[in-house]
Amino acid sequence: MAERLAGREVKRLRSRRDPDSAYPRGFWHALGAPGFAWFAFWVLVPAYTIVAVSMGYVSDSMLPVPEWDPRYWNLETLRMVLGEMAPGGVFAKVVTNTVTYVAGAMVLCVLVGYPVAYYIAKQAGRWKVLLIVLLTIPFWTSYLMRMLAWIGLLATDGYVNRLLMGVGILDGPYGWLEGQSFVVVISLAYGYLPYFILPLLASLDRIDDRLIDAAKDLGLGKAGAFFKVILPLSKMPLIAACTVILLPMCGDFYTTTLMSGSPATAMIGNQIQVLAQGGPQQNVGASLALLLQLTLILLLSFYLYASSKSNKAVPA
């Protein structure tokens, strides 16, 4: 009997140690290779092209001449663009606008999105599935269409003004779309909120409820359990969700174009659009895009590093 039990134990341990033994050698590498090749071609090659255009020059015929060989990269354009981002430079205002608007939109997303995600993940009970389905509704239409719908709502004779005038809050129509910074911030937050909530929800859902129970058993009240257990465990999901929306928001140009259109609310993406579309300074546009990418890569690296550190801190 003891021998038979020992045999079972040995068999189970062997199975646990080598779960992939059922697959041929190299199976997983082969499975991942096409995806990696696709990624390399369609993501890395264009990214390198931006670098090469930035480090090259534009011919007299307005054709960008990329410099593919790193030995001959010309950093002058990059340096110049960096200088123009400093106070007083031509890009200083759009950098300030971009940082301010993105930060404002992220704060709004956290304030609105976190309670929603937390409620659905932990408190919604039998309504959870329905609420998740409702959350995906914005994805049924494109971002652009949703912004265009907002234009209809916020227009001078739109429903928002009609409602506010109807209840007596406004005496006359308010110019929401007349170059207002706060409208750009609200629009960014509105546009990217679904992209914020869904990954956050998925992460919050994975927080072990037993940890919350244990906190309560150990004498913490509801608020204490939230602030001492749930909030610390939400840190990485929040950073991840912020990262998801940060990257596209920083390069966004159409939200401010549609919701304001005024140069007073221009963002970096608008300048990249002007420069990269053609003309004599496509290398400047590429440099601007490259600097934006590098900044975001640094932020992403911080996230990956912090995430890695956080995972290591979790006991095995």
Partner: protein, 420 residues
């Protein structure tokens, strides 16, 4: 569990991060150790464009160079079977024109549209768009000629050119021998406003009506200018009293940027390309606009508003006038059909379709604005919105710039768009 944490998903160490950053830094350091001379043929004067082509102006026409290795097609050839690939502005060519060409010549037309010539230029130069015939802006001509992207035309196929086109355009200033081009349609740029919303303003009451944006009160948030560098800065120069809207004088450009800054502060001016829509809907009360916008606006105006309230002003002399031209790709697979297409566009049938479809004037005999209105082809109230022959013949035009000039203009536009 342990295995997973040691794997790639959770294994980004400080060392790996620094290695990644180090790789980038290494590449940059490598670049500092080597040098290569740029292939740019720098040294263009302010009067020369790409390939050393003299920059044409209405007062100083330029014959575009012809090259031995880029000849026009021979005379007397039969049209190819097509399909003819036409690359043109969105919404300028009426469907009737496509179908009438197909019926007349038995060649299918396949149009591809661009939103603005600036968008089309890099695609064409990169060879990423396959076209036989292209609706080309005047400013781009030297670039395409110098790069041998377009081929000269053979006038034996363009019978309507000589017989129909106005005398003043038989040898146009931008292509003095009409070696590469046929004329496209014309429009004017000026000020559009809603008379019902600004009942007290009359351009005739001002010495310089362009000043209205800086002088009229109560228009904050109700103003729009074109989001095109040449239109935007060009009219700003006119407002500043600079009659040469192709000036690359830094002082002129700086003054235009300063005027824009003032306008942004005063009115939060929007930059856009939908003047016809925003004016019709009352989002804006006064705008920089193309005359054709007034025509389009009629389709967007609320039913309860009379289209007569849509007004447009441009000066009779020295108005900003714009036109496109038609050119044939050097690599055209259907060059004969392309010639026939260009000829087709210079016939009255198309010119009538064109003005009724897009509010643009084709410069052929009988299609002058007064005739168009007298014949009832267009409403009387569009009289000022359609460019007159006088405006076309005595107008100011966006002309080609040198690379240095383009750079100066783009920098000025960036300063405007950044509100810097």
């Amino acid at each position: 569990m342990n295995r997973a944490r040691r794997g790639t998903t959770a294994g980004l160490s400080r060392r790996a991060l620094l290695q990644g950053i180090g790789f980038g830094a290494g590449a940059l350091a490598l670049s500092a150790c080597a040098s290569r001379t740029e292939g740019s043929s720098a040294g263009n004067s302010a009067t020369q464009g790409p390939g050393g082509i003299e920059l044409a102006r209405p007062g100083s026409p330029v014959s575009l160079p012809l090259y031995d290795d880029n000849q026009a097609i021979k005379s007397g050839l039969n049209p190819e079977s097509g399909p003819l690939n036409v690359y043109c502005w969105t919404g300028t060519i009426p469907k009737k024109t496509f179908t009438s060409f197909e019926e007349k010549y038995g060649v299918e037309v396949r149009p591809t549209f661009y939103g603005a010539p600036d968008e089309a230029l890099p695609k064409i130069l990169a060879g990423s768009i396959n076209f036989d015939v292209y609706e080309c802006s005047m400013e781009q001509l030297p670039i395409f000629v110098a790069n041998k992207v377009i081929q000269p035309v053979n006038h034996s196929y363009l019978t309507s050119y000589k017989s129909n086109v106005w005398d003043s355009l038989q040898s146009p200033w931008y292509d003095a021998d009409a070696s590469y081009t046929t004329p496209g349609s014309y429009w004017n740029t000026g000020i559009a406003w809603r008379e019902d919303l600004l009942p007290d303003w009359d351009p005739a009451s001002m010495d310089n009506p362009y000043d209205v944006f800086w002088e009229l009160d109560g228009i904050a948030g109700k103003v729009q200018w074109y989001d095109y560098v040449r239109d935007g800065l060009g009219m700003m120069m006119m407002r500043n009293g600079v009659s040469d809207i192709n000036s690359t004088d830094q002082a002129d450009l700086d003054a235009a940027v300063d005027a824009f800054r003032e306008l942004i502060d005063r009115t939060r001016v929007r930059l856009g390309t939908d003047a016809y829509q925003t004016l019709a809907q009352g989002t804006n009360w006064i705008e920089q606009a193309w005359g054709a916008d007034i025509y389009f606006a009629e389709f967007y105006i609320p039913k309860e508003v009379d289209p007569k309230v849509l007004k447009f002003w441009a000066p009779d002399e020295g108005a900003i006038v714009t036109s496109d031209t038609w050119v044939i790709s050097r690599k055209a697979k259907n060059p004969v059909a392309a010639h026939l297409w260009m000829n087709h566009l210079l016939e009255r049938e198309h010119a009538v379709n064109m003005v009724q479809y897009s509010g643009l004037i084709t410069p052929i005999e009988g299609m002058e604005t007064e005739n168009v209105i007298a014949e009832g082809l267009m409403s009387e109230r569009l009289n000022t919105a359609l460019p007159s022959r006088q405006q076309i013949e005595n107008g100011v035009y966006h002309a080609p710039l040198s690379k240095e000039g383009e750079t100066a203009w783009q920098n000025a536009w960036l300063a405007v768009k950044s509100n810097a």
